[in-house]
Symmetry: C2
Subunit: 209 residues, 2 copies
Amino acid sequence: MRLGTKKDKAEKRPRGRPRAYEPQTALRQAAEAFWKTGYAGTSLDDISAATGMNRPSLRAAFGDKHEIYVKALSDYWELKFAAMRKAFETDGTLSETLMRVYDAALSIYFSGDDQVLGCFVVGTAITEAPGNPEIQRIVADGFHALDADFEARFKQARGAGELKQDADPQALALLASATMHTMAIRARSGTSRENLRMLAQNAVKVICG
Amino acid sequence: MRLGTKKDKAEKRPRGRPRAYEPQTALRQAAEAFWKTGYAGTSLDDISAATGMNRPSLRAAFGDKHEIYVKALSDYWELKFAAMRKAFETDGTLSETLMRVYDAALSIYFSGDDQVLGCFVVGTAITEAPGNPEIQRIVADGFHALDADFEARFKQARGAGELKQDADPQALALLASATMHTMAIRARSGTSRENLRMLAQNAVKVICG
DNA sequence: CTTTTTTTGTTCCAAGTCGCATAAAAAGAT
DNA sequence: ATCTTTTTATGCGACTTGGAACAAAAAAAG
């Protein structure tokens, strides 16, 4: 991590036996396992099976179970942020932008191969948060970052006359986040993608006045 | 269970050794344990410690771990419904009623002895839902029941002229539920009660137009 | 070809977890 | 007092889980 003299492609081979896996890919696969059954409900054997790595290799690469989870959680936030920011940055009306954001969220929530798993954070980290300040912090920071993205967009919209001048960007942002949270929860409890999209559309209508 | 000839107070003592616990109390204590650490994160020994019952007694009274959890979940829904309905039934303006509902929810979310645990359903059942159709169903049914309560109140408000005639009670109901969901999530991730109450007030302002 | 380095794969260990079998206790019924 | 019924309490056995030790494998370096 420290002395990367060259970029990263076609780097001179390190020294010992080469890895049989790509760390980033393996982490995603580990996250998928946690996503399905939560932190406590997922054993290292499950992760081992999901990644194809054996337990000692897992440990060497990512640390113990808790460390693997935290890395998976952080990686998920990055993925989610990237998708959200991309949606926020497209231009269009406020309503259009919000729907792009919600559609991007739905794409993630419904990305499971066989089951619908909703949001990794809402579906797994929320359970662990009370007993684990570190996770609680990561979760809260992520929520606040998204709140801020929404708020910035609403401020911009108010400036552009898309919202009434007395609209409260912060209040609207929390409502927009709430909409995403309820979508995450309901996705995991069996509501269809079509239904959730309609829910989002109705929410956008109310929020945009 | 079959032949209860008398009501239930001062009943003639059954026959064998009397129970050393009250089933309803024990179930609440078991729920508290699950509430803290989730389904998979709570062992039967944890529940045994929380209730003061030993494992065989637990099994005889409530069944295996999964049955205990389902009973605790159903019991929580009853508790929550009772609190919500009571809040809905108080008279007052729409805004007042909504705030009473949210305050009632906060009372439950912040009822933990040492930690803030949010909503039992959002905090623990959502994790288990994808892999368990029975839990998924119980969760979804509960959400829909609350959605319906909100919707009924919004319909009434529209009829009474508290809302504009073109207001959409169903859309508003889902937004009101969303607000409760985000409160449940954020409570468990460390947001203070005061902050959540302000969030609710802002949401009510937007929802009531 | 041998040495060094890094990762893989097997195996073991201690603790935890769950269900069950069995004994002990506490009450009413006879 | 003894028997029956119901619950509590103890303990056992099989399995799971997380961690670590250790040897084998794969590659570069000398």
